[in-house]
Chain length 167, copies 3
C-alpha cells in the first residue's frame, strides 16, 4: 500500500529538510528524485547545497520532466520528489503541456507500491504579479498543489522550518 | 442570528471552492455576490470558469463596489461574497475611500439575519513590492482582512485546497 | 529562565499587535527594541503609527543593527524586538555580514534572563523575484526565521490578525 505525502511552504521555509527527514523515516536508502536543472551558477550552488545536506542514505535520480516514469522506475524504495514547482517550470520552459503531465503524475502516484514524499512551493500569497506569464504560472502551480494535495494521505505546510499539519 | 464566515488564502489555494461548499451547507438557493469586473479577456475567462463551477443552486448578484447595500438587498438567503480583495481593488480604481466603505461593510454584516460567507486573499507574504501603490494596496488588504476576521465567527486559511481553521 | 517567543506572518497580518499583547502579558514596563529606520516619509509614518498604538507601558530602545548588545543592555524586563526582517535589511544595507550577526543574536538570546518576544516577516510565499538581490534577501530572511524559530519556545504564525500556533 503506497503512501503519498506532500510538504508545501514558501522559499526557505525548511520544507525540503522536513521532507527528507520524513522520507528517511519510511526506510533507507531512499531515492531523491531531483527536478532541478542547473541553468546558471545560482541554481548550481543551490543544488550543491541541497546535495551536501543529504548523506549516503540517498541515491539521486535526476529527472526534470518525466516524473511519472521516474516514479515507476524507482518503485520499491521510498522516494522524495523535490520539487513540483520546478517540475512545472521545466514543463513550461520545454513547452510541454502541463495538464496531461499532471494527470500522468497522479496516475503514477496511484500505482506506486513504495511511498512517495513530494515537495512543492506556495507562490500565490504575494501581490498579483505584473506580467501575465507569472500570473499563469502561479495559477498552474496552485492547481498542481491542489490536485496533489487532494491525492495525498498527508499534507504539511512548513513555516520557519516548523511543520503545520494540514491533512 | 447571523453568522459571518471568512475564507482566506493565496491565489489558487482553493478558497473559493471551500467557501462555496460551506455556503451551500447553510442552505440553498444561495446568493453569489460577485465583485469581479471583466476588464479584459483574462479576467473574463476567470469569471466564466468560476461561474461554470457553480450550479443551479446559486443566484448571481454582481456588485463591484456597494457591498453593504448588496448584503441588505439579498438578506434572507445565505450569501457568498467573492472576493474582498477585488472589491478593495475596485474601490481604489474608482477613487472611492476604502476605509468608510469597510466601516459600512462591517455595519452591514452586523445587521444581517442570514449568514454571510466571505472570500479574501492573502497578498502580504511575498517580497516587499517595489512600487508605493502596491505597498499601499497590500497594507489596505491586510487591514480589510484583519477587521473582517475580527468580526467573523469562523476564519479558515486555505492551503493547497485544504482548510486550516484559524478561528 | 529566559523564554524566547517568535511571531511571524505577512505584511499587515497583525503580528506586531499580537506580539505586543504577548509581551505585556509577561510584565510591564516592557522594552520595545525598534529596528526600523526612518529613511523616508512612508517609513516615518509607519513608525509613528506603531508608536501611537503603544502606550505608557513601553520604553523604546532604537537599534537598527546591534541587536545582541541591545538585548544584553536591556535584560531584566520583557523585550519585544520588532522586527528581524528590517534588521536583516539594515545589515545588508550597511554591508555587515548577516550570518555572524545572526550567530551573535542567537548567543545573546540564549543568555537572556528576562523573556524576549521577536517579530519577523514571511517573504517567501510569492512568485520568485526577478532580481538576484531580492532572491538573496528572501533566502537570508528564511534562514533567519528558521534559526530563530528553532531556538524559540513558542512560534506563532499570524493570519488576518489571528494567531496560529506553530510551536
Amino acid at each position: 500500500m503506497s503512501r503519498i505525502i506532500l510538504f508545501t511552504g514558501g522559499a526557505r521555509s525548511g520544507k525540503s529538510a522536513l521532507a527528507e527527514a520524513r522520507t528517511l523515516g519510511l526506510g533507507s536508502p531512499a531515492v531523491y528524485i531531483a527536478t532541478a536543472q542547473a541553468f546558471d551558477d545560482e541554481m548550481a550552488a543551490r543544488i550543491a547545497a541541497h546535495q551536501a545536506r543529504r548523506g549516503p542514505d540517498w541515491r539521486t535520480h535526476a529527472e526534470p520532466l518525466a516524473l511519472a516514469q521516474a516514479l515507476d522506475t524507482t518503485d520499491g524504495a521510498p522516494r522524495l520528489v523535490d520539487c513540483l514547482t520546478l517540475w512545472l517550470s521545466n514543463l513550461l520552459l520545454a513547452e510541454t503541456p502541463w495538464e496531461p503531465a499532471l494527470d500522468a503524475l497522479l496516475d503514477a502516484l496511484a500505482r506506486q507500491r513504495a511511498p512517495v514524499v513530494l515537495v512543492t512551493n506556495e507562490v500565490g500569497l504575494g501581490i498579483v504579479p505584473d506580467n501575465a506569464l507569472a500570473r499563469a504560472f502561479r495559477d498552474a502551480a496552485g492547481i498542481v498543489n491542489q490536485r496533489v494535495a487532494a491525492a495525498a494521505d498527508e499534507v504539511t505546510f512548513a513555516v520557519a522550518g516548523l511543520p503545520m499539519r494540514v491533512k
